[in-house]
């Protein structure tokens, strides 16, 4: 006789949720760090470097994330590097996020008016100060809605990690559903958990967007 969906099953889903959040956090923080480097290199003014970064972005935006996860998990294993499932998907998501966030921020950096950089240059400010003090603070503001939007996509996208056997929220739901034969209930709960995680972020993002639109009208 199959077990009913009870506290134990709910606890199992919660642990899946925890893994989803942890994976998202690692991928987002790692993706932000690497993405910043991608965005800066992509706008550095050196044609060769910009070209290489463009290819990097093109590869990760132009191939399925699933494929990228396979390559990290199975591909690296073939070279003798056997990675833990969590480490493998964390690497995969981080690298993928670096390409997407890098491209979002590249656009934001280029959206900061040229006069800002010229004003800073005329004052004798160096590249590091121009970026840190002038361009990036404005670019981050511009990119915030898109960045939050990407974070929401990332949270939901982590369900792909199940494919290499990593038990996050979606995979946990599948397991519980198979045990209890209560798919509607189980996936209803899983969906609610994703929703609770994502909706406030989406709301925050669109509020931010509206506020930015208002500010740019002034």
């Amino acid at each position: 006789m199959a077990p009913h969906f009870g506290l134990a099953e709910f606890g199992f889903l919660l642990r899946g949720l925890q893994w989803t959040m942890l994976l998202t956090l690692v991928a987002f923080v790692g993706g932000c760090t690497a993405g910043l480097a991608v965005a800066l290199l992509r706008t550095c003014g050196h044609k060769g470097v910009e070209w290489v970064i463009r290819i990097y972005i093109g590869i990760f935006q132009g191939t399925p994330l699933l494929l990228q996860l396979f390559v990290v998990y199975y591909g690296l294993a073939l070279t003798g590097l056997k990675l833990d499932a969590f480490v493998a998907v964390a690497i995969g998501f981080t690298v993928n996020a670096s390409a997407f966030l890098g491209e979002i921020w590249r656009g934001a950096i280029q959206a900061v008016p040229r006069g800002q950089t010229e004003g800073a240059m005329a004052l004798g400010l160096h590249y590091s100060s121009r970026m840190r003090d002038i361009v990036l603070p404005q670019a981050i503001r511009i990119s915030l809605p898109a960045t939050i939007g990407y974070l929401v996509q990332l949270i939901k996208g982590t369900s792909l990690a199940a494919i290499v056997g990593f038990i996050e929220l979606a995979r946990a739901g599948q397991i519980v559903s198979n045990q209890t034969f209560q798919p509607l209930l189980v996936f209803g709960v899983v969906g609610a958990m994703y929703f609770i995680l994502c909706w406030p972020l989406s709301w925050w993002g669109s509020r931010m967007e509206a506020r930015l639109a208002l500010a740019s009208q002034r």
């Binding site: 004003g119 004052l123 400010l125 160096h126």
Partner: protein
């Protein structure tokens, strides 16, 4: 001291791709001189002053500022930018910083001034452009004329040897032009070396030691304002003056 050469441009040529923006420009500016550059749009006057602080690279010729030859090295560009202040048509204030922060950033970062030192200097210059009471505001809270005066104060905080003005009043509503011009006149009277790209011929008459007319990337003629306006030598200059003075 008065005759000391501050800026010397020799045989400067500049191209944007196939388009030649500056043709064999020679220009010598002495310490304390006030120069007004005028000419039709596209004549290269903005490009010329943007070459002086290396916002634009040149392809041929030489530029020496305060004894330092400007080349492609970061060090040379640095040294020159320390000596050259610039005011833009579009102000280019940093919108996410207060007026005071706009004025103290460069002294702190590029001159390694302490925060209190930089703020004292900034307040002094903000007073001087009569905007000391707005120091804590953000640029967007100020009028265009006020913003441009902040931009002038911000440049002065770096204690430049020469100030470049790139059409500083062109983006302003008419009623705000005077406050900015008055600030510039004050600066000129204090002995600042200035190169101004402007169509404000009243300003040119009042403060300029020399007026230079440019067309198609070349310096066509130059002279003291009185002679320049009363008796321009070239047909091209007469045509230009006829066009702009008709509206004044």
């Amino acid at each position: 001291m008065q005759d000391q050469i501050l800026i010397e441009m020799k045989g400067v040529q500049k191209w944007y791709g196939g388009y030649q923006a500056l043709r064999n420009v020679d220009l010598t500016v002495r310490r304390g001189e006030k120069i007004v550059l005028c000419g039709p749009s596209g004549s290269g006057k903005s490009t010329l002053i943007r070459c002086i602080n290396r916002l634009e690279p040149i392809q041929q010729g030489s530029i020496v500022v305060n004894g330092h030859r400007l080349d492609d090295s970061i060090k040379a560009i640095d040294v020159v930018r320390q000596d050259v202040g610039m005011v833009f048509q579009s102000f280019n204030l940093f919108p996410h910083m207060t007026v005071l922060q706009n004025c103290t950033l460069a002294p702190i970062r590029a001159r390694r001034a302490s925060k209190s030192e930089a703020e004292a200097t900034a307040r002094k210059y903000l007073e001087r452009v009569r905007i000391g009471d707005q120091a804590e505001k953000y640029p967007a809270q100020l009028s265009g004329g006020q913003q441009q005066r902040v931009a002038i104060a911000r440049a002065l905080c770096m204690q430049p040897k020469v100030m470049l003005f790139d059409e500083p009043t062109s983006a302003l509503d008419p009623e705000m032009v005077k406050e900015v011009l008055d600030t510039m006149i004050g600066l000129a009277n204090d002995g600042m070396t200035m190169i101004c790209v402007t169509h404000e011929m009243g300003f040119a008459r009042q403060v300029a030691d020399r007026v230079i007319f440019m067309a198609e990337g070349q310096i066509i003629e130059e002279g003291a304002p009185e002679a320049f306006f009363r008796n321009p030598q070239h047909a091209r200059t007469r045509q230009f003056l006829g066009e702009i003075l008709a509206h004044h």
